[in-house]
């Protein structure tokens, strides 16, 4: 596994060779003498936990950072990449997690932006060339559509086409599937396979090991900034890859304790939500959420998950229907029409991890303890804030959830993604909720952190909290949730038992176009109970 060979020793010349790359930020070593080869016509999966230095390494290839030490060879020739422009010159294109596109421009305009081509700007010719690239690899995108009208997956496609348009032979994708639905992921992988067949070198950073197995040829592992080793994908398995990433053996099973005495906590009856521009987001949704149970919500993204959680938390204007909160004494109270604060006081906690992770629930520039204060700052009658309790809570969360941070006075924007999510989920749990709503809680998290979150949710469930888990990964949903509500186009297309349902069944329900009509929905509801 040792990879000390020179750039030209393997079969042919590697597209990219990194030798002894070191990058430090202040006193922290982000990359420590990393050696890595990427070959043509190959997909290399770069693995590592959050904070292991994968993105930093790739940023040095794409000209965003400059290495402190080490050499980079492109096709056997040593190069110095000082800017993203240099990177393009050497045929390196990077697709960042956060797209760098101008919203009000069309795809074509974004793609040709910054290219210093001689002569008149010819949008039509550019758009024609873009269509050719799309046809070659099987992309589905309209070059004349403006970015703000596009879905996340289409924006990503534009980013990839942008790199190809600039003649990239070496493509780096940083967690490309974190924001995609399973279907979109499949489409992306098909395109990437076409590109591999075309002789491009592709590096993909991902945490999802089944994707690594489905797509990659070779796997390289980083741990704490150091290169650990590499292997052929076909010779390895998730367990081995995980052990290499984490540095010790870990178990890959999610516990699912039997729910103890589940009883309804929230009853949703005929919930209907329309967006401000009149599009039906939720259409007569019926189901209940039970204390002491984890309810999974499955569905293609944009099927109404966000609206559902926001309606419960009071952040969404509800068109019609009821959300009945069942108190401990059995009395019911409608949450519709209450403001977020009242709902929060009734014990409903929402931890929603949006696509940009920080947009809702945390304040990026505030430190950990000030972020803890978001929930509690109103407590007490004093006009002044109480900083001691949030500070103690932050210390507690950091200790219990093993948040990797210098101290609790660090702004959360300086934490890595996994740690940010632990802070968010930790705070919501600390408010001792009766109902814990989580959406995409493990989005972009490495395996170890994901399992920490699953454990946390299970502990809440055992305490009798009604947990709602909106997830993207069907495998996880099927292992974690007691019941699964499947949403399709704003309707409930089925409610299944997590212990007996299989993946195909849920997948079918997710794509059952138009859902089932309301009477049937109520029947399904009755059956599930």
């Amino acid at each position: 596994m040792d990879n000390k060979a020179t750039a030209s020793a393997d079969h042919g010349v590697a597209a990219v060779s990194l030798r002894g790359i070191t990058k430090t930020f202040g006193t922290v070593v982000a990359n420590d003498h990393v050696d890595l080869d990427i070959r043509k016509g190959e997909v290399l999966a770069l693995l590592g936990e959050n904070g292991s230095g994968k993105t930093t390494l790739m940023n040095m290839l794409s000209g965003i950072y400059y290495p402190d030490e080490g050499q980079i060879f492109i096709n056997g020739e040593e190069v110095s990449i000082q800017s993203p422009k240099d990177a393009f010159r050497y045929g390196i294109g990077m697709i960042h997690q956060h797209f760098k596109l101008v919203d009000v421009f069309t795809a074509t305009e974004n793609i040709i932006l910054g290219l210093e081509e001689k002569g008149r700007l010819d949008r039509a010719a550019a758009s024609k060339r873009i269509r050719e690239i799309c046809n070659t690899y099987g992309f589905q995108v309209d070059p004349d559509k403006t970015i703000y009208e596009m879905s996340v997956s289409q924006k990503q496609t534009v980013e990839i086409v942008k790199a190809l348009y600039r003649g990239a032979d070496i493509l780096i994708l940083d967690e490309p599937t974190a924001v995609l639905t399973p279907q979109e992921t499949d489409r992306l992988f098909a395109v990437l396979r076409n590109m591999r067949a075309d002789g491009k070198a592709i590096i993909i950073i991902t945490h999802k090991l089944h994707e690594v197995q489905a797509l990659s040829d070779r796997v390289a592992v980083l741990r704490k900034g150091a290169y650990i080793g590499e292997m052929m994908t076909k010779d390895t398995n998730p367990q081995e890859m995980t052990n290499m990433m984490v540095g010790h053996a870990v178990t890959l099973n999610i516990d699912r304790p039997e729910p103890k005495d589940p009883k309804p906590r929230i009853e949703i009856k005929g919930l209907t939500v329309t967006s401000p521009d009149g599009i039906l987001q939720l259409d007569h949704v019926y189901f209940d959420i039970r204390a002491g149970e984890i309810l999974g919500v499955a569905g293609i993204s944009g099927s109404g998950q966000k609206e559902l959680l926001e309606s419960i938390a009071g952040l969404q204007r509800v068109e019609s229907g009821q959300i009945l909160y069942v108190k401990d004494d059995g009395k019911k109270e409608d949450l519709v029409g209450k403001d977020p604060l009242e709902i929060q006081h009734m014990g409903v906690a929402l931890s929603f991890v949006p696509e940009d992770r920080l947009g809702m629930g945390l304040v990026a520039n505030m430190d950990l303890s000030d972020n803890m204060m978001l929930r509690s700052f109103r407590d007490g009658r004093s006009v002044f804030t109480d900083r001691k309790h949030p500070h103690d809570l932050a210390e507690k969360v950091v200790e219990e959830l093993e948040v990797n941070t210098p101290n609790v006075s660090t702004p959360v924007r300086r934490l890595s993604g996994g740690n940010v999510q632990k802070v968010l989920v930790g705070r919501e749990i600390a408010s001792a909720p009766k109902v814990l709503l989580t959406a995409y809680a493990v989005r972009g998290l490495d395996i170890n952190s994901s399992y920490t979150i699953y454990d946390l949710l299970n502990k809440q469930k055992e305490k009798g909290v009604a947990v709602v888990y909106v997830g993207e990964d069907l495998d996880v949903l099927l292992e974690l949730a007691d019941r699964i509500v499947v949403l399709c186009g704003g309707r409930v297309s089925g409610i299944v038992d997590g212990r007996t349902a299989d993946k195909n069944e849920v997948g079918m329900l997710m794509t059952r176009l138009g859902g089932i009509d309301r009477e049937k929905q109520e029947e399904v509801q009755d059956l599930a109970e």
């Binding site: 006193t27 959050n50 938390a313 629930g361 990026a364 804030t385």
Partner: protein, 414 residues
């Protein structure tokens, strides 16, 4: 591989948080360098002895007791406006309407002094004037705030336009109240009775203004940093989505904060009319509503820091004026020197957040950073210090605004 490609001459990385001593060291060095450059330019262009010019500048600000009091008065007014703008700025509401809010407060005070001056004793008149000034300023800020909260209008343009409306209103009332008729001026109001004038305490007519603003500074500092409302302001400023999510009423916070901002501007108008000028003109605010924007930014919206930044700006402007008079130079000459000094001070912030690495001659990074400071302060434009470096495309976004996985670097990389 024979012709090894060159490393870039300079590349920059974000620093870890500097200890405050080092940060202030950099700022001090930048001021010294600015003075040095000003000295060179002065000698080259005018042939004057720079030491004498600096001495004149200093004496212009502190030369006599009277000058020192005027310095104090000017600082108080500028600081008061900056304090007024700060809550709005912390909420990322760019209130550029300080000028108009001051004028309206001044107008309200004048109205009280002229219409009620002969009927009520000062014990009643002054509180009434204060309340009217606060209210008028608050209303002037409330109008753009309501529109922002309701329809998300652009507050920068809106507050700016409100300035013109206020100026015209004042111009109208100056004619209504002009003394004598046809002069186009109000003149000193209630000169004989001194009705509505702030009392002279301890024999100095500026002292009360200064004490009021000093107290306000401390109150504002505590309000912004330790009160629940101050916390709400910060949350709304950082992320409206998060504020909504934790149940802060965003619209109400905007309205409340802007009323506070406008009210304090109105108070400044009161201090100007009742405390120092005792008259009303359309230029009574003198552009300080805009200068205060710079004061607030220089101090990074910290009320205590604003004491320093407002001192700096007033000191420079008074000193520059003195140079112009004594050496019969153009008034712009003083402004040039002021500009150079501000340029260096703002530019120094770049070296506090970023570290420069030079092509591998010396490996000692601290030495490199130190010399970077000396060598290229001049090369940094104020924008690049403020809005970050030219290659901002990737560099800026990564550690700063992109959280999550990219925050890997952000985590170590301040």
């Amino acid at each position: 591989m024979q012709n090894k490609p060159k490393e870039p001459l300079i590349h920059m990385t974000r620093r870890k948080a500097l200890p405050w001593q080092a940060a202030w060291g950099i700022r001090l060095v930048s001021i010294l360098l600015a003075l040095l450059l000003c000295a060179v330019i002065t000698t080259l262009t005018t042939g004057l002895n720079p030491a004498a010019v600096y001495a004149t500048m200093f004496s212009g600000a502190f030369g006599t007791a009277r000058r020192t009091w005027i310095l104090g008065k000017d600082i108080a007014i500028l600081l008061c406006i900056s304090l007024a703008l700060t809550p709005a700025f912390r909420m990322r509401f760019w209130n550029l309407g300080g000028e108009g809010q001051i004028l309206i407060g001044a107008l309200a005070t004048t109205a009280c002094m002229i219409r009620l001056g002969s009927d009520f004793p000062n014990a009643v008149l002054i509180p009434v004037s204060i309340v009217c000034a606060l209210g008028a300023g608050a209303v002037w800020a409330l109008i753009p705030a309501l529109c922002k909260a309701r329809w998300n209008t652009n507050e920068t343009l809106f507050t700016l336009m409100m300035n013109y409306v206020a100026t015209q209103l004042v111009a109208y009332f100056v004619i209504v109240w002009e003394v004598p008729k046809g002069s186009g001026k109000i003149g000193i109001i209630n000169q004989s009775t001194e009705a509505g004038w702030l009392p002279v305490i301890a024999g100095n007519r500026y002292l009360l203004n200064i004490l009021c603003v000093a107290a306000l500074t401390i109150v504002m500092y505590i309000y912004l940093n330790y009160s629940k409302q101050g916390y709400e302001i910060s949350v709304v400023g950082e992320s409206v989505a998060t504020a909504r999510y934790i149940g802060i009423k965003v619209g109400w916070t905007i309205v409340r904060t802007l009323m506070l901002s406008g009210a304090i501007c109105g108070l400044t108008g009161f201090l100007l009319v009742a405390g120092t000028d005792h008259t009303l003109t359309t230029t009574i605010a003198g552009g300080q509503g805009f200068t205060a924007v710079m004061v607030a930014w220089l101090a990074k919206f910290n009320p205590l820091g604003m004491v320093l930044s407002s001192f700096l700006l007033v000191f420079l402007s008074r000193g520059a004026g003195e140079i112009a008079t004594i050496y019969s130079l153009n008034q712009s000459y003083g402004d040039i020197l002021t500009g150079i000094i501000l340029f260096f001070i703002i530019g120094s912030e770049f070296f506090i957040s970023y570290q420069l690495h030079f092509r591998r001659s010396g490996k000692n990074e601290n030495a490199a950073a130190g010399s970077a400071q000396k060598d290229s302060v001049k090369a940094v434009s104020p924008q690049s210090a403020d809005i970050l470096p030219a290659k901002a495309d990737g560099r800026k976004e990564n550690p700063d605004t992109v959280p999550a996985e990219q925050g890997e670097e952000g985590a170590h990389n301040v």
